[in-house]
C-alpha cells in the first residue's frame, strides 16, 4: 500500500513529481507519435529506438559544433537536425519496403543495433569530450538548450513541443492529404491503389514523418535533458513507444494519455525502490504485468 502511495504521489503529488512525469513522458510521447504514424500505414516500425538515437546524434552534432549562432537560430536548428536525423533513419526502411519490398521488421530492428553502435563510436571516438576524463560528448552550447519551463525542475520546452506535436499529428492524420493517404494505405492497400493513391510514395513519406518524430524524441533528450550525447541516453524508449502507441489506440490524443500513464508508472515504480524498498525485479514484474493487462483490456476495438 505504501508502495502504491509512493507511486501515485511521486507521479503527480508535487510540482517536481509532475515535472518529472512529464520529463519521462516527453520521449515516450514523441516516439509514440512516430510509431503511431507508421502503424496507421500498417508499417511495423520497431525501429523508433534507432530513430531516437539518430535524432539525438544529429542534434548533438549541431548543438555542439555549430557555434556563434544566437539561441533563436541555434535551438530551432538543433531540434530540426534531430528531426532530420530521425527522418533519415526512418527513410531507409521505408525506402527499402516501398521500392524493394524488404520486410520492415528486419530492417528496423537491424538498424537499431547499427545506430546505437555508431553512437557508441562517436561518443568514445570523434565526439568525445577531450577535456574530460570520461566518455561523454562535450556539452551542447547553451544556445542549443531547450529552455527549462518550470524553474527548479527538469521540465523543459521539449515537453511542450511534444504536446503540440500530438495535436499536429492528429491534424496530419485527420485533416491532410498525406494523413488520409497514410490511413488508406493502412486500412486497405488494394483500395488505395485502385483509387490512385501512390502506395510506395506514401510509405516513404510515412516513414520520414515517423522517423522525424522519433528523432525529435532523441533531440529533446539531448537538447532538453542531457545536453550531451551520452551512452544509453534512450534506455529503450523506442520499444516502450510501441506499447504507448498501441495503448493510445493509435490515436494521437490517446497516445498523450498513454505516454503520461507510462511515465507515471515508470517513475513511480522507480520511486517505490526508494520509498518502500521494493526490489527492482519486482518493479519490472509490475511494469510487465501492467503492459500485459493493458494489451488485453483496451484493445479489442482496433483489431477488427
Amino acid at each position: 500500500m505504501q508502495a502504491y502511495g509512493a507511486l501515485v504521489y511521486s507521479a503527480f503529488g508535487s510540482v517536481n513529481g509532475f515535472a518529472e512525469t512529464m520529463v519521462k513522458a516527453c520521449p515516450l510521447l514523441l516516439a509514440g507519435l512516430g510509431v503511431t504514424v507508421a502503424f496507421r500505414a500498417r508499417f511495423w516500425n520497431i525501429g523508433a529506438e534507432g530513430q531516437i538515437y539518430a535524432g539525438g546524434i544529429m542534434a548533438a552534432v549541431v548543438g555542439i559544433y555549430i557555434t556563434g549562432l544566437p539561441a533563436v537560430v541555434h535551438l530551432p536548428l538543433t531540434v530540426l537536425a534531430g528531426a532530420v536525423g530521425g527522418a533519415l533513419w526512418g527513410l531507409v526502411p521505408g525506402y527499402l519496403k516501398a521500392r524493394l519490398k524488404v520486410n520492415e521488421v528486419i530492417t528496423t530492428l537491424m538498424l537499431n543495433y547499427v545506430i546505437i553502435l555508431l553512437a557508441g563510436y562517436l561518443i568514445h571516438g570523434p565526439m568525445r569530450d577531450r577535456a574530460s576524463g570520461i566518455t561523454i560528448s562535450p556539452q551542447l552550447l547553451q544556445t542549443a538548450w531547450l529552455p527549462t519551463v518550470i524553474p527548479r525542475t527538469r521540465f523543459h520546452a521539449g515537453i511542450l513541443l511534444a504536446l503540440a506535436l500530438a495535436v499536429v499529428v492528429y491534424w496530419l492524420l485527420e485533416r491532410t492529404v498525406l494523413g488520409f493517404q497514410i490511413r488508406t494505405v493502412g486500412e486497405n492497400e488494394r483500395a488505395a491503389r485502385v483509387a490512385g493513391v501512390r502506395v510506395g510514395r506514401t510509405i516513404i513519406l510515412t516513414m520520414i514523418v515517423s522517423g522525424a518524430l522519433a528523432g525529435l524524441a532523441g533531440a529533446a533528450e539531448v537538447a532538453g535533458l542531457q545536453h550531451r550525447l551520452v551512452d544509453e541516453f534512450s534506455p529503450g524508449y523506442g520499444f516502450l513507444a510501441v506499447a504507448v502507441a498501441l495503448l493510445g489506440n493509435l490515436h494521437p490524443i490517446g497516445v498523450v494519455f498513454a505516454s503520461v500513464l507510462f511515465a507515471a508508472l515508470l517513475n513511480g515504480a522507480d520511486a517505490m525502490q526508494r520509498a518502500a524498498s521494493v526490489p527492482v525485479p519486482v518493479i519490472f514484474v509490475i511494469e510487465g504485468l501492467v503492459i500485459v493487462l493493458v494489451s488485453a483490456r483496451f484493445f479489442r476495438q482496433r483489431s477488427g
Binding site: R175, F180, E187, N188, R190, A195, V197
Partner: protein, 506 residues
Amino acid sequence: MQRDAVVVSMEGITKSFGGTTANDDISFCLEAGEIHGLLGENGAGKTTLMNILYGLHRPDSGCILVNQVERNITSPHEAIALGIGMVHQHFMQVPTLTVLDNVILGLRNAREPLLDREGARQRLGELSATYQLDVDPEAYIWQLSVGDRQRVEILKALYRDVSILILDEPTSVLTPQEAEELFAMIRVCVNRGMSVIFITHKLEEAMSITDRVTVLRDGRVVATRVTSETTKAELARLMVGREVLFRLSNDAARSPAGPVALEVERLRAISDRGVLAVRDVSFQVHGGEIVGIAGVDGNGQTELVQALTGLRPVESGRVVVDGVDLTNAAPQRILRQGVGHIPEDFDDALVGAFTLVENLALDLHYTPPFSRWGVLNREVMRQSAQQVIARYDVRTPHERVKARTLSGGNKQKVVIARETSRAIKLLIAAHPTRGLDIGAEEYIRGLLLELRNAGIAILLVSTKLDEILSLCDRILVIEKGRLMGEMARSEADIEKIGLLMAGTGA
C-alpha cells in the same frame, strides 16, 4: 428417392448482430432428396441462417433438428459429423495450399498424424469423375479461377460424405455453361440421396432447378412455395415487396457512337502465376457505346482490366485513352485522364473502416476543391458526399457511417458513384452486378445505360451473358487471354457467344 422425410428442421431461429436482426423467428425445413431454393435480397439473412445450420453462428433462440433429432451445433466440426456440408459465398479456402490439401484439411485418416495424400488423391479422382468436377489436385488455390475454386469447394463437401449440401450463391460467379454443369452435378447428388439447399439471386435458376423455394425478406420468412406452382414474377414480388421489371432495353435513347475513347493495341500482360494472361488483345471503345467482354472467368479478364487501369504492368502493346498514351501509366494518372474503374470485387475499391464521405473522396481528395495545399476540406467532402448519396440513392442513414456496414448492393453503388461522379470519358466496369440481388442489379444496369446515353464509353466485363446481351452494343469474347470474336448485339445470341467462350467458335 424418398421425398417426405424431413432431414433438417430449423424452428424459430432468431439471430441478431448488434443492432441488426439478421434472422427473425425463421422456421425452415428441408425434405429428404429435395433441392430447396432460398431466395431473398442482399442482407435478407440467407447466409446467416445457413451459417447457423453449419455451426458457424449460434442462434439467439430457436432449435435445429437434424434427422428428427434435436442438435446443438456449435462448430462446423459437429455439422460435418452430422453430414452437413456447405459451399460458402466467400470461399473457405487457404490460398497458399494445394487443392488436395484444402480438401483433406481438418479430416482425420487412418495414418494420423501423417497425411494420406495418395489415398486422398485417388478418392478425389473418383469423386471428380462421378460428379464431373475437374480440377488439378496439385494446383494451388491462388492459381485457380473462381469457377475452379467453386468446384474445389463442392469437392470438399462431397469428400466429407455429406448428405445435406448447402450451396450459398454458387452460380453468381459462373457462366451459364458452368452453371449448367453445376446443376447437372446437383442432380447427381440428389439422385444419390442427398438433400440440397440452394441460395441464389437468379430467379430463372430457382425456377429451373429447385423443388421448393423459401423466400426471406428482412430476416423473416415471407413464403415457402412449391416451385412448379409459382412464377418468377411472384417470387420477385415476394423478395422485393414490389413489382420488378425484367428487361432493360438498351435501345432507348441510343445516341450514335462518338469518337474513340479507348484504344487497345496488341496488349500483353502477365498474371500473378507468371503466365501470359492477356495475349495481343486489340479493340476500341467509342464514346456512347457499351462494349462487353464476355468469357468464362479466369480467361484474362482480371489481368486485362488491371493492365488498362495501371494496376498491372503492361508487357507490350499500347493503351490509349482519348488520344493519350497511358501504357504503364500510374493508376492516378489514368484516373485523372478521365477513366472510371469498378473493380471486380468492391472490397478492393472501398475502405471498410472509412466513412462514406472518405470513401467517396478517395479518388480526388488531393485536388481542389477537396483539398488545398495538402489540407483536406472536410466540409466540401461532406457536401459532395451528401449530393452523391442522394443522386445514386445509396441506402444509408447518413454519410458518416462506415462503408463496411453497408449491404453489398449499396457498397457497389458507392463505388459506382465515386467512379462515375467525376468527369469521366471511359468507364471500365468489371462484374458490376456480381452477387447483387435483382433490385440492385436492375438499378446498376439502368445506371450504365444512362451513362452510355450521356456519351460515356463503357467497357463491361461480365460472365453473365444475359447482362452482356441486354446492355452491350458490341460484344467481344475472351478465351485464354485472346479475343475470339467481335459482334454487334444484333448479330449475337447465347449460342454463338457460348461457343466462342468455349474456344471452339468463329
